[in-house]
């Protein structure tokens, strides 16, 4: 690729006591791509993603967003920089409405006295934006924007979480196992959603154990092994069994992929 990466990480190290979760790990994300991150359990995928999304502060190494070095101390700071994360547990508040959830932590207040002095929320504006966003992503089967999230199905909840990330992510969206808890039909819906988000120009980091899903949507696959990036492969040139072999150490990756 000739483009400049939007986010790069070099030499990330994270130790938990005597366990080294990240061992001078590198990472690159290019504009407009879907980058899948795969690896065995315990390979350090989650730690890598947490370091990028601000949930973990790496011990060593640098992360650059748009060529500027960043050091996130919390997920809030990463969010402010335009990095949105869809967590595996979705991070939604079940008893709150869809609109309240989408704007949780960044509510819109009414203009003028009501908002400045009485701190009143601008519900109509929040509901309108939430509705627009859900419609944009083709999720308007959700009828009532003020219904509690706990009354939604698993796929719809995933949809709300993805819509929230797409609505606020200006640089990139990280998705942690978005299809892990879903049925066949709902998984399909979420994969389409991911491609929709990509079409709108946002790069996506997709963490998944589901090889068919990864090979279907990803532009590049980052294979993580023993705390570092083993190689990056093009899903069109390798098979799923190759990927699994690289990831488990059964087969050495080709030199070309190592350089990528």
């Amino acid at each position: 690729m000739t483009q400049e990466p939007i986010l790069t990480a070099r030499g990330l190290v994270k130790r938990y006591g005597r366990v080294t979760a990240l061992n001078s790990c590198d990472f690159d994300l290019y504009p407009g791509e879907i980058l899948a991150v795969i690896g065995d359990n315990g390979a350090g995928k989650s730690t890598l993603i947490k370091a990028i999304s601000g949930a973990v502060i790496p011990d060593e190494g640098i992360i650059e967003l748009d060529r500027k070095q960043v050091l996130f101390k919390s997920p809030i700071e990463a969010r402010e920089a335009g990095i949105e994360t869809v967590y595996q547990n979705l991070a939604l508040s079940p008893a709150l409405s869809i609109a309240d959830n989408m704007f949780l932590g960044r509510e819109i207040r009414k203009p003028g006295f009501l908002g400045d002095w009485l701190r009143m929320l601008d519900r109509p504006a929040m509901e309108k934006r939430a509705r627009d966003k859900l419609t944009e992503l083709g999720l308007m089967t959700i009828q009532n924007i003020s219904q509690a999230v706990e009354t939604l199905s698993g796929g719809q909840r995933q949809g709300v979480a993805v819509a929230r990330a797409a609505a606020f992510g200006s640089k990139m969206v990280i998705m942690d196992e978005p299809t892990a808890a879903l049925g066949v039909k709902e998984s399909r819906r979420v994969l389409e959603l991911i491609l929709d988000v990509k079409k709108r120009g946002l790069p996506i980091v997709l963490i998944s154990h589901n090889m068919p899903h990864v090979f279907e949507v990803a532009d590049r696959i980052h294979i993580h092994r023993l705390g570092r990036r083993l190689c990056v492969i093009d899903p069109k040139q390798y098979t799923m069994s190759d990927a699994v072999a690289f990831m488990t150490g059964a087969k050495l990756p080709p030199e070309a992929a190592l350089a990528a």
Partner: protein, 354 residues
């Protein structure tokens, strides 16, 4: 777009109405459950209206007079205000066992400052409010930063504050007459006015206004939504970018402050200021009002209006049984039944999504 997986091709013939809601199967019971789920204050309101109706019918006009009904309001003002404070804490899935004694020590501090030390009454009130807020802040810091369970923290501060109260005051009561002469402002919330036969004290007005303000704050400000989110799922709230620690600290501090405000109201109602009021079970009365009002002890659910109704239910039941000449233990028994009933209904409503 990449091609569809082989096994998913079968999907193209499947039903497309995946996310539509199954409406035709809803029975009347389901619809009631949904209604109660979206309007959490409805249950206590219905129970309140029913209990007023039942006592109104059995006792007659004597009960169903504006004088009796406003007398009930006067009796519940203190517990209603404490219940409002308790509601905030319980909404975050916590519990505050110390608000009763925080109220008493704040009253003692207000009284001592104004009567014994001769400070201006307004300053005495501010010092008392600050003391209550400080006790709440201590609870909040211990819960948010030390990550101790709220039950343990407030069980500890309950004893600490109660003992401090007795040591500081030497268990000396400040007499009604002394307060009246030196600091009449402390009796502000005991003042009443009549509308026909209805007698309202400023304490009752204060309770209703406080609950309405808190209702607004909880439902129409970001802070209020965060209180619900923290109680609902603290981990999700944190990942959504809510500063859960700040929310917890502000909730406990505000609860302490409201307890100190209840102290001012209680001076108005009781006249004298007695440190030995610390042994009264104000905590449990406030928790009872909150629970009967439909605030879920598991956090994140319920409306503060419910707490007001819950306090009124307890007031109506005890007044009604009094007028019927029943043994006071019947009131205790019925309160127990109401608590268990309220929590059972809460559990049922929670199953709405399943």
């Amino acid at each position: 777009m990449a091609q569809v997986q082989e096994f998913e091709k079968a999907l193209s013939n499947s039903e497309t109405s995946v996310a539509a809601f199954d409406e035709h199967g809803t029975s009347i019971v389901k619809r009631i459950q949904h209604f109660l789920h979206s309007t959490p204050a409805a249950v206590p309101l219905i129970v309140l209206v029913l209990s007023i109706a039942v006592f109104g019918v059995t006792i007659g006009g004597r009960f169903f007079s504006s004088y009796t009904l406003t007398l009930i309001l006067q009796q519940i003002a203190i517990v209603g205000i404490l219940g409002a404070a308790q509601t905030l804490v319980i909404l975050t899935a916590g519990i505050d066992l110390s608000i009763g004694v925080i109220m008493v020590i704040s009253a003692v501090i207000m009284g001592n400052c104004a009567v014994t030390y001769g400070l201006p009454t307004l300053l005495a009130v501010v010092i008392g409010l600050a003391a209550g807020g400080a006790c709440g802040l201590l609870n909040g810091l211990l819960v948010a930063y030390m990550k101790l369970p709220p039950f343990i923290v407030t069980l500890g501060t309950w004893n600490i504050v109660m003992a401090t109260n007795f040591i500081y005051s030497a268990n000396e009561t400040i007499r009604d007459a002394d307060v009246d002469v030196q600091a009449p402002l402390l009796h502000l919330f005991g003042l009443n006015f009549k509308i026909g036969t209805a007698v309202l004290t400023f304490g009752v007005i204060a309770m209703v206004v406080l609950v309405l303000i808190l209702w607004y704050v909880l439902n129409h400000t970001a802070w209020g939504r965060h209180v619900y989110a923290v109680g609902d799922d603290p981990e999700a709230a944190k990942l959504s970018g809510i500063q859960t620690k700040k929310v917890l600290i502000s909730v406990y501090t505000l609860a302490g402050l409201i307890a100190a405000f209840a102290a001012w109201v209680s001076i108005g109602r009781n006249g004298s200021i007695s440190p030995s009021a610390a042994v009264t079970d104000y905590n449990l009365q406030a928790i009872t009002a909150t629970v009967i009002g439909g605030i879920s002890l598991f956090g994140g659910r319920g409306s503060i209006l419910g707490t007001l109704f819950g306090a009124m239910i307890v007031g109506v039941v005890s007044m009604g049984l009094n007028m019927l000449g029943a043994d006071p233990q019947w009131k205790v028994l019925l309160t127990g039944v109401l608590i268990i009933g309220a929590v059972a209904i809460d559990q049922w409503i929670r199953k709405v999504s399943v």
